[in-house]
């Protein structure tokens, strides 16, 4: 599937090109499984406060 963005409607305008309507639905707390390399990266991010971009290096 090719995903093509729609053309910007002629009458569309928003300050600095951004308009927020709502936030995303309330998240729920769940337990992640403390297993696998993905979790270890998550634990490092949480405990060491690393950001995603630091993590990608």
């Amino acid at each position: 599937m090719v995903s093509t963005l729609p053309q910007l409607p002629a009458d569309w305008s928003a300050p600095e090109g951004f308009s927020a309507t709502a936030t995303f639905s309330s998240p729920v707390k769940r337990q992640v499984e403390p297993v696998g390399p993905g979790f270890l990266a998550h634990a490092r991010r949480t405990l060491r406060g690393r950001t995603w971009s630091e993590d990608e290096k």
Partner: protein, 556 residues
């Protein structure tokens, strides 16, 4: 310098297995008998202790002094011990509120003729003996002492039961680095082996010897979250063995006018041969069942084909598919929501188990991972120990404090999205960027195209909602084709219904306008949900970039 020697352990009521990761490869460790699936059985003949298959063989002659199916008794108060599976081996009796077994573990004194009495051995002590033998097998195989192990337990195990297993291991000189959940271990082994880290919703179905366990697990960015679990403590491979015992016992009775089921030893013999016949039928289309001196001195043998077995055990297969249906229902999901079914446990090697479960799903949507469909699939009874071994080598380099720190709720409990978040494309179509049930924080990027001559595009960020679309397809006239005999029985007149699931943009979150972009640009959209639960959105086409963020979301 080489690191510590660590192993992964699967400890089931029926069988146990040991695995180790070496240089990125995981292998199963066989015991001294050459078994990779090691029977979780301990037996005593005088002071001689037997383990594994040798102990299991004692169920025929020495059932009372043989302990089998004991794992689920660990850490459970005696009032809650279900002795059903112990009726053909040592029975659990109470000792200090826990299960124990009355066993004779000493030789009688030949000189004085003194008969040594049986002693009560607690289930803890039995588990220690079992784990000690497993540790010994591993150490013999590797040629080094074992420094630590990761062990897997069912998801319904309380902290008490987990600690009871850790304590038994400790007394067997085996340091447990981490106790993990069985379905997660199996899934880790599976995704590691096929390198599949894509976001998927898995149904992990573990059909063992005495119990069946199911879990729906979301895999998002390499993080696993268990969404729903289901257990059946009366469904497993043992039911298949018993169906075969009934089948052969009836035939035996017809021939000899003796019901072999009235004799415990005859039943034990039939059961052992039934299990081995069942396993043979997983690989070949027919097997020979033969038992010497079943009852009243009569030998018995009969050849059985796979189809005959499948008919004899039909009700068990029905219960297994019902179990899977119930799991999906409990999770409030549709079969179309399941991307992959991972079949785990020894009984998942039975082709009919795999095909019955597969028949619930649409093969174009849901992948079924089992040896019956994929000859390269890992043996289902090896998945758990393999996953535990992978985890063991991941945590081997950390000290206890570091491991415990990462197991705290601040790390393991995370807000998860409840809806899919994505971008509206084309004519009210939707591209998912962050799946529902994704642990936060998360950052995801998607690259989208633009209409050929457009110099300004709209990036609409929405939550997606799934819809099940049912289309009726008129059935083709059935040709009277002799080759078509397999599907003859499904001659319902109704048109076929094709159900498909589609995600559509539903609630709008934000819009970004990108203007003055070169025609034919690619647009990169980054969705970043921060630790503070703000959704930051950035869209960029070449040097044109727009960004913004939503208000903070609140955890429900």
């Amino acid at each position: 310098m080489s690191g510590p020697t660590v192993i992964g352990l699967a400890f089931g009521n029926t069988t146990s297995s040991i695995a180790i990761e070496k240089d990125g490869k995981v292998e199963l460790i066989a015991n001294q008998d050459g078994d990779r699936a090691i029977a979780s059985v301990i037996s005593y003949v005088g002071s001689d202790e037997y383990h594994g298959a040798q102990a299991k063989a004692q169920l025929i002659r020495n059932a009372k002094n043989t302990v089998a199916y004991f794992r689920d008794f660990l850490g459970v108060s005696f009032d809650n011990v279900d002795p059903t599976n112990s009726h053909a081996s040592a029975h659990p009796v109470e000792l200090n509120g826990q299960a124990s077994f009355s066993l004779k573990t000493e030789d009688d004194d030949e000189e004085t003729g003194e008969v040594k009495p049986a002693k009560l051995l607690s289930v803890h002590e039995i588990a220690v003996r079992h784990l000690d033998r497993l540790r010994e097998s591993a150490a013999d195989y590797i040629g080094k002492a074992i420094d630590g192990a990761v062990i897997a337990v069912p998801t319904d195990y309380s902290e008490e039961r987990r600690q009871a297993i850790v304590a038994a291991a400790k007394d067997a000189n085996l340091k447990i680095l981490q106790v993990i959940n069985e379905p997660t271990a199996a899934l880790l082994a599976h995704v590691s082996a096929n390198g599949d880290s894509t976001d998927k919703k898995y149904a992990v179905i573990d059909i063992g010897g005495t119990r069946s366990d199911g879990a729906i697990i979301a895999s998002r960015g390499g993080i696993f979250t268990i969404l729903t679990t289901l257990h059946n403590y009366e469904l497993g491979g043992k039911n298949l063995d018993e169906a075969l015992v009934d089948f052969f016992a009836k035939d035996f009775e017809k021939q000899h006018k003796v019901d072999p089921k009235t004799e415990a030893r005859a039943v034990a013999k039939l059961l052992a041969e039934s299990e081995s016949t069942k396993k043979t039928l997983s690989n070949t289309s027919s097997a020979n069942f033969a038992v010497e001196s079943v009852a009243q001195g009569y030998d018995y043998s009969l050849s059985i084909n796979r189809l005959r077995f499948e008919v004899a055990a039909r009700s068990v297969f029905t219960k297994i598919t019902q179990f899977v249906e119930e799991l999906i229902k409990k999770a409030n999901l549709d079969v179309l929501d399941i991307d992959e079914v991972l079949l785990v446990g020894g009984t998942s090697a039975v082709p009919k188990v795999a095909t019955s479960i597969a028949s619930l799903f649409d093969e174009s949507v849901t992948k079924i991972s089992a040896p019956a469909f994929d000859t390269k699939a890992i043996q289902p009874d090896e998945l758990i120990s393999r996953g535990a071994a992978i985890q063991a080598s991941l945590v081997a380099g950390y000290d206890d404090e570091e491991i415990n720190e990462s197991l705290q709720a601040v790390v393991t409990v995370a807000p998860h999205t409840t809806k899919s978040i994505g971008v509206k494309v084309g004519d009210n179509e939707y591209v998912e960027v962050i799946a529902s049930e994704t642990a936060l924080p998360i950052r995801k990027t998607v690259t989208l195209s633009t209409p050929a001559d457009a110099t300004a595009v709209l990036v609409g960020v929405y939550e997606g909602a799934s819809e099940i679309v049912v289309t009726k397809v008129e059935k083709e006239e059935k040709k009277d084709d002799a080759e078509d005999d397999e599907s003859d029985w499904s001659e319902d007149e109704e048109d076929e219904e094709i159900r498909t699931k589609v995600l559509k943009p539903a609630a709008k979150i934000a819009e970004l306008g990108l203007q003055n972009i070169p025609a034919g640009s690619k647009v990169e959209v980054v969705l970043n949900i921060t630790r503070e639960l703000k959704l930051q959105i950035a869209a960029r086409a070449g040097s044109v970039a727009v960004r913004g963020e939503t208000a903070v979301a609140h955890v429900a």
